[in-house]
């Protein structure tokens, strides 16, 4: 799951590409070793522009403008981090799922988030950004994740609301990325979108069951909708007028629709679903505009968005601490496996030598 809500501050060092980490990782890459003349760069830029103009895909070993690479590394990494951090709010309910069927679905879904994170880290690797380096950037707070995951899952209905609203918003964001100009990212997104198609449906199904249940269950569903609606709308990122990266990303074919366009589509799609569920969305200004055939919604509280993004959300510290602890607790395991692999390689080599002798 993923939103466009990582950062509004382009000046802060968001990613490894801006901290020198990537430069090191790419030192072995032949493209970095070549010093190109100005004319050669212009030539390559022209080829790159032509590919973008023809809506062709850029592939890993192609020359690409450094800013394009940086933008992609940042976006893919943050997308991957979102999947990994996104395991936590839902994982929180695995041991408490109220039926065995729901428990199976939830384990499969949280596992999918891990898988999607891995597909995306894999895409980032093709740009020379190693997994360890990206995880370090996540753990140190240098890179962000979708800020929606800084909200807590307090009741079972929240698992439904995440599937319905958060995955719904994520799919809205992600489907256009299947046509992203960078090949490995687009291919990862195709796989992610295919697999995620069940996520939103299962969320709706959870709320559907609650909405036909007891008054307590209905109240639980309404409470979840109240808490998740506005943060879900924030997932599309700041309004177009304030979105710093948008225009260039559109030109590069990384982004296909603006934040506001996607947000409007999401609202138009979701309001009738809420009505079907018998839920009231917490926006007194929400109304259907016959003329434009769109649902018009009230002012989003961007100060809350900025506050949560900057670290002052209910779960920011908890999410990162959880993730870091998993990583640190696992260090001895990863070291053991590496040590074993080295021993085995040595044994194989020795056995071969002895066989030759």
């Amino acid at each position: 799951m993923y939103g466009n809500d990582f950062s509004t501050e382009p000046s802060e060092p968001l990613n490894a590409a801006e901290t020198g980490g990537v430069e090191q990782a790419m030192a072995h890459e032949d493209r970095r070793a070549q010093l190109l003349s100005e004319a050669e760069v212009a030539d390559r830029q022209e080829q790159f522009d032509a590919l973008i103009a023809a809506d062709q895909r850029i592939e890993p070993r192609d020359w690409m403008p450094e800013a394009y690479r940086k933008t992609l590394v940042r976006q893919i990494a943050q997308h991957a981090h979102s999947e990994i951090i996104g395991m936590q709010p839902e994982g929180n309910w695995i041991t408490r799922a109220p039926s065995l069927r729901r428990k199976a679905i939830l384990i499969a879904k949280v596992q999918d988030e891990a898988g999607h994170g891995l597909y995306l880290y894999s895409a980032a690797e093709t740009l020379g950004a190693g997994r360890d380096e990206l995880l370090d950037a996540l753990h140190s707070g240098k890179q962000k994740y979708s800020t929606i995951f800084n909200y807590p899952t307090l009741t079972w209905a929240d698992v439904g609301a995440i599937g319905w609203l958060v995955d719904g918003a994520a799919i809205m964001n992600q489907v256009p990325l299947c046509r992203c100009s960078y090949g490995p990212y687009a291919r990862a997104m195709i796989r992610v979108c295919k697999e995620e198609s069940f996520h939103q449906r299962q969320g709706f199904e959870i709320l559907w069951a609650l909405s036909r249940g007891t008054s307590e269950q209905k109240a639980m569903a309404q409470d979840a909708a109240n808490r998740w609606w506005w943060p879900a709308l924030m997932m599309f990122g700041p309004p177009d007028a304030e979105s710093s990266h948008s225009e260039q990303s559109m030109a590069w074919g990384i982004k296909r629709f603006s934040n506001d366009e996607l947000r409007q589509r999401f609202v138009d799609m979701t309001v009738p679903q809420a009505q079907k569920l018998g839920l009231t969305l917490p926006d007194p200004d929400l109304r259907y505009d016959e003329e434009s055939a769109h649902w018009r919604f009230g002012e989003i509280d961007w100060s809350e968005f900025k506050r949560v993004l900057s670290g002052d959300g209910p779960c920011n510290a908890q999410r990162i601490a959880h993730r870091r602890k998993a990583h640190e607790d696992g260090a001895w395991v990863r070291e053991a496996a590496s040590a074993y692999a080295a021993k085995q390689a040595k044994r194989t080599a020795q056995a071969r030598e002895e066989a030759v002798a």
Partner: protein, 269 residues
């Protein structure tokens, strides 16, 4: 075949229902413990692996509990209890799992040691159950035939990690040995010939638990020695799980697992 047909003259359905509950409870409670690993594994790839194992076990638990409920209904005359009735509305004393699966998650080495023990045991059990050529109980044999492929993979996963942790670094060797030492007091209980199991075994419906032991021990010893570790010789052994006498940990597992359905009785989720 209907549950009624499975009930032969030699076998009381009560014994069969309780036996299925025991296997189902083992799988269900271990699912809870594995589920705790999600988002906490040493590498994200391992979150995936443990998630797959948990899903397999949960599938087994659901099939076994459902069947137990159907068999039970043949003698209670009540409507069959569903998998969820059995999972969420039985009290601790009515659960029949072994103490092994109840123990807290521990570190990765403990979890791997437990998986090594449990998956090897499950493999021996399910492969025998599925091979009972003219099984008087095709439902149980069918569940086992599906499960045996799953647990074959679980066993391989545990063995691969046992080798790497045992023969990895000094620290991992120490932790893996400690994990085995902690787990071994719970091994014996898996092979207890309960009255139910003995009755079913004499009718040829299931293998006698104690008859699975040698195969398991051979397999454990081989992998543990290859991992430069030692098979522990525990001085204590757990007992009583199959009769509903559990470790203190199970109460907490159930409190967590059951609290929503019990807080809202009669609700559908």
């Amino acid at each position: 075949m209907s549950p009624e047909a499975a009930v032969t003259t030699q076998v009381r359905p009560q014994a069969l229902a309780r036996y299925c509950l025991a296997l189902g409870d083992d799988a269900l409670i271990l699912t809870q413990r594995l589920g705790e690993w999600m988002s906490r594994a040493p590498q994200i790839e391992e979150d995936m692996a443990l998630g797959n194992i948990a899903l397999d076990l949960l599938g087994q638990a659901r099939a076994l509990l459902t069947y137990a409920g159907e068999v039970e209904a043949t003698y209670t005359g009540e409507p069959a209890r569903s998998e969820d009735d059995l999972a969420f509305f039985r009290d601790e004393r009515e659960f029949r799992c072994v103490h092994l699966v109840e123990q807290p998650r521990g570190d990765f080495a403990f979890s791997i040691a437990r998986q090594l023990v449990f998956s090897t045991y499950q493999y021996a059990l399910y492969s025998r159950l599925s091979r009972l050529a003219t099984s008087p109980d095709p439902t149980l044999a069918g569940i086992a035939a599906k499960a045996v492929k799953e647990v074959d993979y679980h066993r391989d996963h545990a063995e691969q990690w046992t080798l790497r942790l045992g023969d990895g670094t000094q620290e991992s060797h120490r932790r893996m040995q400690a994990g085995l030492d902690e787990v071994w007091p719970y091994v014996d209980e898996l092979f207890t010939d309960t009255e139910d199991a003995a009755e079913l075994a004499s009718a040829g419906v299931v293998p006698l638990p104690s008859s699975l032991r040698e195969e398991c021990e051979r397999r454990w010893t081989a992998v543990i020695e290859q991992a430069t570790l030692q098979v522990p010789e525990p001085t204590r052994r757990s007992r009583g799980g199959r009769e509903g006498i559990h470790s203190e940990h199970l109460g907490y597992v159930l409190a967590e697992m059951q609290h929503i359905p019990r807080s809202y009785p009669g609700s559908t989720w």
